[in-house]
């Protein structure tokens, strides 16, 4: 059994290495899109951490006292995700964290809707004078679309213009030299 698993591993890796160019381009587009969305979202929240913590507290899912810690962690995880996705480093692992984060958001939105809470979603920090986005079905579908992107990246992480590829190429050239 163990021998069978060992034999299967190289085939999986090989399949991923041989991704169709169109899929690689799509992977690049999804990676950049998700990266930019998370960068904007994280940067905006960073400028108004208290407001974001306020929004988290309104969901009444985690203890009120932990809302600030959770806010800081989420914001910086979003920024880390954005930088890694845009640069193309550790794409599959980053996509896994992105998917987990989006699933948590999705559960939070759905439970808030189920409890009849008409609260600000805390998704982006709105500009002055702009009404914050509320939890609701549009937010659920938005989150599902992003989640689909993250799942796609878990299965198809290879794409051009990545730090991973650049480092690998440099390594290969180093070995040849």
């Amino acid at each position: 059994m163990a021998e069978t698993l060992t034999q299967q591993q190289p085939r999986t890796t090989s399949t991923l290495n041989e991704m169709h160019p169109a899929m690689q381009s799509l992977s690049l587009a999804v990676r950049i899109l998700l990266g930019v969305i998370f960068l904007v979202s994280g940067a905006e929240k960073l400028g108004a951490l208290d407001t974001f913590a306020h929004a988290i507290a309104n969901y009444k899912i985690i203890p009120f006292a932990l809302a600030n810690i959770f806010a800081v962690l989420v914001v910086w995880t979003e920024i880390a995700i954005a930088v890694l996705l845009i640069s193309g480093a550790a794409v599959r692992g980053t996509a896994l964290v992105t998917g987990t984060l989006l699933t948590v958001f999705l559960i939070a939105i759905l439970t808030a809707m189920a409890r009849g809470l008409e609260i600000d979603c805390g998704c982006f920090n709105p500009a002055a004078g702009v009404e914050p986005e509320k939890v609701g079905w549009p937010k659920v579908f938005e989150d599902l679309a992003l989640l689909a992107g993250a799942v796609f990246l878990i299965y198809f992480p290879k794409s051009p213009l990545t730090i991973d590829r650049l480092l690998r190429r440099q390594g290969e050239e180093g070995e040849k030299g």
Binding site: A65, L66, V72, I81, T94, L96, G129
Partner: protein
């Protein structure tokens, strides 16, 4: 040795989370815009009855001053006519003064409204809190203007009678409404009560705008709705 893709992905994910945690800790230790690690409810001291009710002002309009002197029954027709003209002139002067004062008040309000666009750097002392009983007494005495800091849909479902609705997150949109509020009247702001922070945010904004007689009804709608005190619905 080749790692399985899943194991590699989990390892990468763990690294991403660790990077996030490290960045978060570093930021919250050293950045100027850091937040407290533990979030606490904004507590306020309750104002005493003496301080709350001693400076009650139930008027919002300047009372006209009686400037016409009493008519002496022994006056001649000529004196009566002169007296009538004097009275008219004085009344005209009073009306003109009143218009001038009102214009000045509106101009001051407008200037303050303009200044309010940059209110972030003005230091503010926290407003004091009031109890449900104190709020009810102020309502009965018509001695305060109540402002509901919740969203309009929550306000529509139920609010304290006569309350104005200014959603704390939309303060900038309501500056026109705020500029028209009487400065000499006590203002009571409230939201849901408990951990709701909208009333605190609104009280801070009002204080920055020059309203000095703002108090927070900390029990908020949660406590008021449990009493048999009057309630209103709709806009």
């Amino acid at each position: 040795m080749n790692q399985s893709p899943l194991r590699k992905a989990l390892k990468e994910a763990r690294t991403v989370v660790l990077i996030g945690i490290l960045l978060a800790i570093s930021f919250n230790l050293f950045a100027s815009s850091k937040v407290p690690w533990i979030r606490t409810t904004k507590s306020v001291d309750t104002i005493s009855d003496d301080a709350l009710f001693n400076d009650v002002d139930t008027t919002t309009i300047d009372q006209p001053i009686d400037t016409v002197p009493a008519v002496d029954s022994g006056m001649s027709a000529e004196e009566l006519e002169k007296h009538r003209i004097d009275s008219i002139k004085k009344e005209e002067q009073r009306v003109q003064d009143s218009i001038k004062n009102e214009k000045k008040r509106i101009q001051d309000s407008t200037e303050k409204a303009e200044k309010a666009n940059d209110i972030s750097n003005i230091p503010v002392d926290g407003a004091k809190g009031i109890t449900t009983e104190q709020a009810k007494k102020l309502l009965d005495m018509k001695a305060a203007l109540f402002i509901d800091a919740r969203r309009s849909d929550q306000f529509g479902k139920g609010h304290i009678p006569g309350a104005l609705n200014i959603y704390a997150y939309e303060f900038q949109d309501n500056i026109g409404k705020v500029a028209g509020l009487p400065k000499n009247k006590r203002i009571v702001v409230y939201c849901d009560g408990g951990e709701c922070e909208l009333s605190h945010d609104l009280a801070d904004d009002l204080a920055k705008f020059g309203f000095t007689k703002v108090v927070i009804y900390t029990g908020g709608w949660e406590e008021w709705s449990k009493t048999d005190y009057p309630k209103s619905t709709g806009e």
